[in-house]
Amino acid sequence: MTRLFLPRDSVAEALGAGAVARALLEGARRRGRPVTLTRTGSRGLLWLEPLLEVETPAGRIAYGPVAPEDVEGLLDAGLLQGAPHPLRLGRPEEMPFLARQQRLTFARCGLIDPLSLDEYRATGGLRGLEAALALGGAAVVEAVAASGLRGRGGAGFPTGIKWRSVRAAEAAQKYVVCNADEGDSGTFADRLLMEGDPFTLIEGMAIAGLATGATQGYVYIRSEYPLAWRSLNAAIAVAEAAGLLGASVLGSGREFRLEARLGAGAYICGEETSLLESLEGRRGIVRAKPPIPALRGLFGQPTLINNVLSFAAVPWILAHGAAAYAECGMGRSRGTMPFQLAGNIRRGGLVELGFGPTLRALVEEFGGGTRSGRPLRAVQVGGPLGAYFPERLLDLPLDYEALAGAGGMLGHGGIVVFDDTVDMARQARFAFEFCAAESCGKCTPCRIGAVRGVEVIDRVIAGRQPARNLALVEDLCEVMRDGSLCAMGGLTPLPVMSALTHFPEDFRRGAAPLAAE
């Protein structure tokens, strides 16, 4: 019996993995060759999807990207023995893109059947939860604090402090909420994990429940992720049946239940208070803080809300120790960050590394430059509210403070590459357009400012009084930055102003013909 592995990840599926799987099983059957096919998550080498692996005495051998029409040729060439073929890549662990990573959170993503609790255990799963049960809540919170873990959702708030507040809050009912809204363009790490290793998230949330005294958890998943929604729900059902979730977590007598909830296409619902409103069944209008959710969150109860990657880092921290986690990273950014390479990039995918690699190392060494082969002109870091950087700033190290110091933000770790065909005035316009479309409408600077921003940039693009209108853009940005209730309006100036600062020539294109009139 030969074992084959093929991802059921969204990217693989979106590139025909379902048809590849059918062709493989059919081809093997016709040849009288017994095979089993395990549908895994993705290893995160996304330019190679669908990435097929076969188990051989020399380890797992990868082939990719495999199209359905490649399958017959692969089988004829001796795929099942790991034989040579133009698509053969060798052992995945030895490919530089993977070999040079520090996979802590994503250690088993792509390796195992995401819904097999046995395989999860066999690869070190549940050791963190077992350690947490032995340690007790207070020690767990202190371990999370000592690890230096900061929120991976964007704001980088120290996770331990939040856990401490919720643990200390007195209430009959507390909640743990996972923010799986992952709305930032250029990010997909939450999705990869929920599709490829959902038990790690479930384990992290169960630990959070035990540590804070919360008995009910919710995962708020965006509706744009239909496959992650299915896999997480399936994993929750498996975890319930196995006693990992429910009235007595792993027989400890401690209760923790988990339910996944579907968002409905609103970017602002990634903002934590808007998310809570949405979970409660209302429009996702941002709440003023204080009170902070840790004290008055879901249904007015103390609520721990963290990003998928924040929860998913916790099992490793408890299994291996806070000090081991804190050893990675730089400065005040401890541990590893799953960076995501996206946009016009040759080798796009997930790169988990200790904080501190330069943008250039990620984009050039890992990413291989642009997909188009044209010169790189700009990268946007940290999603739609993040700054655009020009090529000459690529030596910036990626940690929370360095990015902030350069007028940007790391956000959820997404890096979107643009080649020299990009028009940065249009990108600035889009930032306003996006804010106008997704603003919750609660405060004027954001709601009105974004709409005005689009109009004013349109005038700049048309070459109408560019100097005067650019000054207006700067004023608008200042008002939005200083007067907005949340970071939607408050950070939209980042992409706009960085485009203006680093690429001023793109805002003068319309001016020439008019000046000649």
């Binding site: 969204s10 990217v11 996304l46 968002g263 296409g265 995501q340 796009g348 080649d419």
Partner: protein
């Protein structure tokens, strides 16, 4: 999308009843109704309001706030095209302009034959493999006009 049925008050009431006891039941109910009928018909609003003890205005406010919920039926196939930055970086804007011209519709529009509705979406988490789309709820990467046509023909 294929598989949707016409409005049926009894069926809607059963769907609402199945979810009404959950904490924060509004979104699960709206999703379930849209799954069944392809959109959330106006007739559903008072039923939801009554079941959840909300005003009609509150239910309506929720329905209109979220981009996902459709108040009118869509075409047989719904194509959600990613308009966000990582897809822009690989030519999504030009592709979308070409598709809208080819299908003769603007955003949210449905082709004259009722076959295809084009909707914008901001990011599908396929940002390393764009341009991206969801076709009848299934992800498609490295989209171009031919790939979309092939998907629609196969569906």
């Amino acid at each position: 999308m294929p598989g949707h049925t016409d409005w049926d008050a009894a069926r809607a009431a059963a769907i609402i009843a199945a979810h009404r006891h959950r904490e924060g039941a509004t979104l699960p109910i709206l999703h379930a109704l849209q799954d069944a009928f392809g959109h959330v018909p106006q007739e559903a609003v008072p039923l939801i309001a009554e079941a959840l003890n909300l005003s009609r205005a509150e239910v309506h406010g929720c329905l209109s706030f979220y981009h996902d919920f459709r108040r009118e039926p869509a075409g047989r196939h719904v194509v959600k095209l990613c308009r966000a930055e990582a897809c822009q970086a690989v030519g999504a804007d030009a592709l979308h302009a070409a598709l809208r011209a080819a299908y003769g519709v603007d955003w949210h529009g449905t082709t004259a034959d009722g076959q295809v509705t084009l909707e914008p979406v901001f990011c599908l988490g396929l940002c390393a493999n764009g341009p991206a789309a969801l076709v009848d709820g299934e992800p498609v990467a490295r989209l171009d006009a031919a790939r979309l046509a092939a998907r629609l023909a196969a569906a």
